[in-house]
């Protein structure tokens, strides 16, 4: 089977697994939604009534089929807490999260590649040592701790940026200053880990015979670095991409909670707090699918750049 087909098959399996896992996790665990919804005095009669209203009395397999059939049509069910369709929750949170995600993804690759190549070019010298030490140190630091410290410095002491996006609502585009710190915090871990890998790949690639030969032939250094060495140097970084995507998805939740941005992560956290299972399920599927798709895209691009590595599948 060709590589791309196998990779697509894996993505399909992962999608199915995400849907199954989300359903199984929210179903199998004790304390079903009816008990949570029945309120402060959960008498058996009321629980039964809620259960019947939610079709929770039907067998799990039947509900799973119903639910996944609904997913195909974009029908994610109805919130337990408010009775609104889950899709309206998604629509509300989508804009702010997109505003957060787009600059992050756009900046991520250039920043990581730029830092990595910079460090590799000056291997062993001051620039490399600074970049290496900072990227190594920062990439294990939790976003919330880093974010709080940045807020203390830039919002509290210096007063340059707003501390949170509180009060701006979903109209964040009108207040770009409120997005600076969130995007910075969101970028920190993925940029550091990718930059380290690009640096490692790049030092190997720059020391290789083909780079020496290209330079000997008089190919400009810029072109050797970015057109010849870089595609090969990215290959090891590709192996980290799955984890990077994972970090971005987790980071969105934390950053939105920290900076009070009313995006999908905040919707998810509120639903978790209210034990609003359909909303949690719907958002989990969306986040899971985003992970699968981002991974798929990253793998396809990397495979195109450096087919020999056979990344994934």
């Amino acid at each position: 089977m060709p590589w791309a087909a196998r990779r697509l098959l894996l993505a399909g399996a992962q999608t199915a697994a995400v849907v199954l896992l989300v359903f199984a996790l929210t179903e199998a665990l004790p304390g079903d939604a009816a008990v949570a919804l029945a309120g402060d005095q959960p008498d058996a009669e009321r629980i039964e009534a809620v259960r019947a209203a939610l079709h929770l009395d039907r067998p799990p397999l039947e509900r799973l089929l119903d639910w996944s059939a609904g997913l195909f049509h974009g029908d994610l069910g109805v919130s337990l807490a408010s009775g609104r369709p889950v899709s309206t929750y998604l629509a509300d949170g989508f804009g702010p999260t997109l505003l957060l995600a787009v600059p992050t993804v756009v900046l991520l690759v250039p920043a990581a590649v730029g830092l990595g190549v910079l460090a590799a070019r000056h291997e062993g010298r001051a620039a490399d040592r600074i970049v290496s030490a900072v990227t190594l140190g920062l990439y294990a630091v939790p976003e919330f701790a880093l974010g709080v410290l940045l807020v203390t410095v830039f919002a509290l002491r210096l007063g340059w940026l707003p501390p949170t996006a509180l009060g701006y609502g979903t109209d964040l585009l009108a207040h770009p200053a409120a997005l600076v710190l969130p995007v910075l915090v969101l970028l920190a871990r993925p940029v550091c880990s990718l930059a380290r890998l690009v640096r490692a790949g790049m030092t190997d690639a720059l020391a290789s015979p083909y780079v020496a030969q290209a330079l000997r032939c008089g190919v400009p250094g810029m072109r050797v670095r970015y057109a010849h060495a870089l595609p090969n140097a990215i290959a090891p970084a590709a192996q980290q991409l799955a984890r990077t995507v994972d970090w971005l998805v987790c980071g969105v939740v934390v950053v939105e909670a920290l900076f009070v941005i009313p995006g999908l992560g905040t919707v998810l956290m509120n639903a978790v707090a209210e034990r609003d299972v359909p909303v949690v399920q719907g958002l989990a599927v969306v986040f899971g699918l985003a992970t699968v798709l981002l991974n798929l895209g990253a793998d396809l691009v990397t495979h195109r750049l450096a087919p020999r590595t056979g990344a994934a599948a």
Binding site: L29, A145, A242, A257, V272
Partner: protein, 291 residues
């Protein structure tokens, strides 16, 4: 990704020791910086609870001074005392989850490495490949939506999230050792599986796995702290650095110490831990043998 990665030696190395640890890495300057940075929060976390006195009377919320060195927190408790108490849970839960992840991943990885039946390997490893596609924090939040996990539950969840990666690395490292003639000899001699797995393969990959355990531990610290910040696995007013950051955030402008001190301690713990692991990996004695 896992299998292709594990099959190539280069991929294995990238997986096991992280990037740039071969001949090309720069020395960050030995163990000392990492040790110094991680030492303060670690000592505070483990020994801190021994030095706290009785809880004093509650003061006014979020004030500074008045006999409290670091001021008071959102319900008027002494921040200094909370800081002393708050590190233990983070560190212990992270340690427990790393140990748990290894307790499952070691046997599973060795079974895959030592078996000659392809289907056993596929059966054990393929589901883990698929599990990798679920974002780790999402899994934790999903469970938290249904039950309120305590610290033990959180440790279990973080371990669960770490099992796929760990099992892959154990398998990848073990497969190399398991293909050596020595294992063939042990097999012909009729040695038991446990003897081969833990006596030979385990011993020859111990170094690689120790390195991975370090990386895993910093990852667990991150996840435990983040989950606690989001309110998973901890009480609302728990003495926990991550919870302190979350709960005292509202008073950042009047009483920054209640937020900044625990945040700094968490940063130092993860940052220093990472530097330490990296420096330990770079020591000549622990470098992977090149064959």
């Amino acid at each position: 990704m896992a299998l292709a990665l594990a099959r190539s030696r280069r991929g294995l190395k990238a997986l096991v020791v992280g990037p740039g640890q071969g001949r090309t890495r720069t020395r960050a300057g030995g163990l000392l910086p990492g040790l110094l940075i991680v030492g303060v929060p670690l000592v505070l976390a483990l020994a801190g609870p021994l030095f706290t006195g009785e809880a004093g009377p509650r003061g006014t919320s979020l004030t500074t001074g008045d006999g409290h060195r670091l001021g008071t927190d959102f319900i008027g408790r002494d921040v200094g005392r909370q800081v002393l108490l708050g590190g233990r849970s983070v560190v212990l839960v992270a340690l427990a989850s790393t140990a748990l992840a290894y307790a499952v991943a070691l046997p599973a990885g060795f079974v895959c490495a030592l078996t000659r039946r392809r289907w056993v390997e596929e059966l054990l490893m393929r589901p883990l490949d698929v599990l990798l596609s679920v974002p780790s924090l999402l899994l934790i939040l999903l469970v938290a939506a249904a039950v309120a996990p305590g610290p033990a539950g959180l440790a279990l969840l973080v371990a669960l999230v770490n099992i796929p990666d760990t099992a892959r690395i154990v398998r990848a490292a073990g497969a190399e050792a398991a293909s050596r003639p020595a294992v063939e000899a042990l097999r012909m001699q009729g040695e038991s599986w446990a003897r081969m797995a833990f006596g030979y393969v385990g011993r020859s990959v111990a170094r690689t796995l120790a390195a991975d355990a370090g990386v895993r531990l910093t990852g667990a610290l991150y996840l435990v702290a983040t989950a606690a910040f989001l309110g998973v696995g901890v009480a609302q007013d728990a003495a926990d650095w991550a919870v302190m950051v979350d709960r005292n955030r509202a008073g950042l402008f009047v009483q920054p110490w209640a937020v900044v001190v625990p945040a700094l301690l968490i940063v130092a713990l993860t940052l220093g831990g990472n530097l330490l692991v990296d420096a330990a990996l770079a020591r000549p004695g622990t470098k992977e043998k090149r064959r």
